[in-house]
């Protein structure tokens, strides 16, 4: 399974970013290969509108099975995300990546859709 986190840093001990559209960066974790990959998200910081849409497209290009974030995606971003089968889990905004991953594994996170 491939999981994408909204993150403020690039390690397991880094804090999650509660925001989706304007998350500082994304960390993708592939459970099959144990590979951690960092995806920057600088371009959305400058966008006045539509950051969530572009972020959604970018995250879907990674082809994840699951997205773990804090506050969740907005209405328009959800329209983009829902074109794929990805599942989004929310409520991990105050955790580290490791805590968020464990919470997800223990079914402690809420499914946004």
């Amino acid at each position: 399974m491939k999981i994408v986190f909204t993150a403020q840093g690039n390690e397991w001990s880094s804090s999650m970013d509660a925001r989706f559209g304007r998350s500082e960066m994304f960390v993708s974790f592939d459970e099959n290969t144990n590979e951690l990959k960092i995806i920057t998200n600088n371009e959305t910081q400058e966008m006045e509108h539509g950051a969530g849409l572009q972020t959604s497209k970018k995250v879907l290009d990674l082809n994840p099975d699951v997205i773990i974030t804090g506050n969740g995606a907005g209405e328009k971003a959800l329209k983009v995300l829902k074109t794929s089968g990805v599942k989004m889990y929310i409520g991990a905004g105050d955790m580290t990546l490791k805590e968020a991953y464990e919470a997800f594994k223990n079914n402690k996170l809420q499914l946004q859709y």
């Binding site: 966008m47 509108h49 539509g50 950051a51 572009q54 497209k57 983009v80």
Partner: protein, 286 residues
């Protein structure tokens, strides 16, 4: 003459000044029309007794995706400066709320798969009041783009009341909606208050008006609260202070009941008279 009442900071009294000033000038027998351009949250009508006389649907032109010939090349999404199009592997998603109707996606589409069509964004309503015509632009819920409706509301006013004095009640802030509400006017009145917040946002509004090359003056509302920094700033920058409206709890009481102020509070009417005298001195720019 076209006069825009703007502010920078919200809640400084744009609508109070707009509705009372328009009504007082109408009482004097002048032809005047008031247009509420705060289309995201119009509220002038709350202070007027209105009778609906006309409704016009406001549209903006946005692309619709015709999938037949589309090769999903994604040029439309790349060319959109406003993030209104997302090219997915199997479809093109369009977000009309974000569209600025620039036609780039449609014109540059190799297969003509994006057709520009009108979509409703709100309404322009015209009302009769006791003493003057009143026009209001109102965006539909969920719509984000105020500028097209502001521009259409101004055009409606100009076409129908070209020989009237036109008062435009602008939205707060200093971004595109305020610029649209101000750029065609002969003069802009900036309503502020003598607080640090008022001063901060006044400075932003002044910068905006200078970039637009607009003539403008300032009304200091709730004069007597806060501090004198707004006055000092205006003096230093050579900005005319049109009037100072005294801070008075009775004004707030009348406001909360949706009543016009000048009919009951003399010092407020005196301030309006100062505005009217000042306006008389403004030359109309064609």
């Amino acid at each position: 003459m076209k006069l825009t009442i703007a502010s920078g900071k919200g809640g400084t009294g744009k609508t109070t000044i707009s509705t009372n000033l328009t009504s007082l000038i109408a009482d004097m027998g002048k032809n005047i029309v008031l247009t509420d351009l705060d289309v995201e949250e119009p509220n002038s009508a709350l202070f007027l007794q209105t009778k609906l006389s006309n409704t016009k649907i406001s549209n903006k032109i946005v692309p619709t995706w015709e999938s037949n010939d589309c090769t999903l090349c994604g040029k439309c999404a790349k060319n959109c400066n406003f993030n209104a199009i997302v090219a997915m592997p199997n479809e093109i998603l369009i977000f009309p709320e974000l569209c600025h109707s620039c036609y780039a996606c449609s014109e540059l589409c190799p297969t003509n798969s994006l057709l520009m069509k009108p979509t409703r964004i709100g309404e322009i309503k015209e009302f009769e009041t006791k003493n003057f015509p009143f026009i209001e632009g109102r965006l539909d819920l969920g719509q984000e783009m105020a500028v097209p409706l502001i521009s259409q509301s101004i055009r409606y006013t100009k076409e129908k009341y070209k020989n009237h004095i036109m008062i435009f009640d602008a939205p707060p802030g200093t971004s595109c909606p305020v610029i649209e509400a101000s750029r065609g006017s002969d003069f802009v009145i900036l309503v502020t208050e003598s607080t640090p917040f008022g001063l901060n946002d006044l400075k932003l509004a002044v910068e905006t008006m200078r970039v637009l090359d607009k003539n403008f003056g300032v009304i200091i509302n709730r004069y007597g609260i806060g501090e004198i920094s707004v006055e000092e700033y205006c003096l230093k920058e050579n900005i005319p202070i049109i009037t100072k409206v005294k801070n008075d709890k009775n004004i707030a009481k009348l406001y909360s009941k949706g009543e016009l102020i000048y009919k009951q509070i003399d010092h407020f009417k005196n301030s309006l008279d100062e505005i009217i005298t000042f306006i008389g001195d403004i030359k109309c720019v064609k």
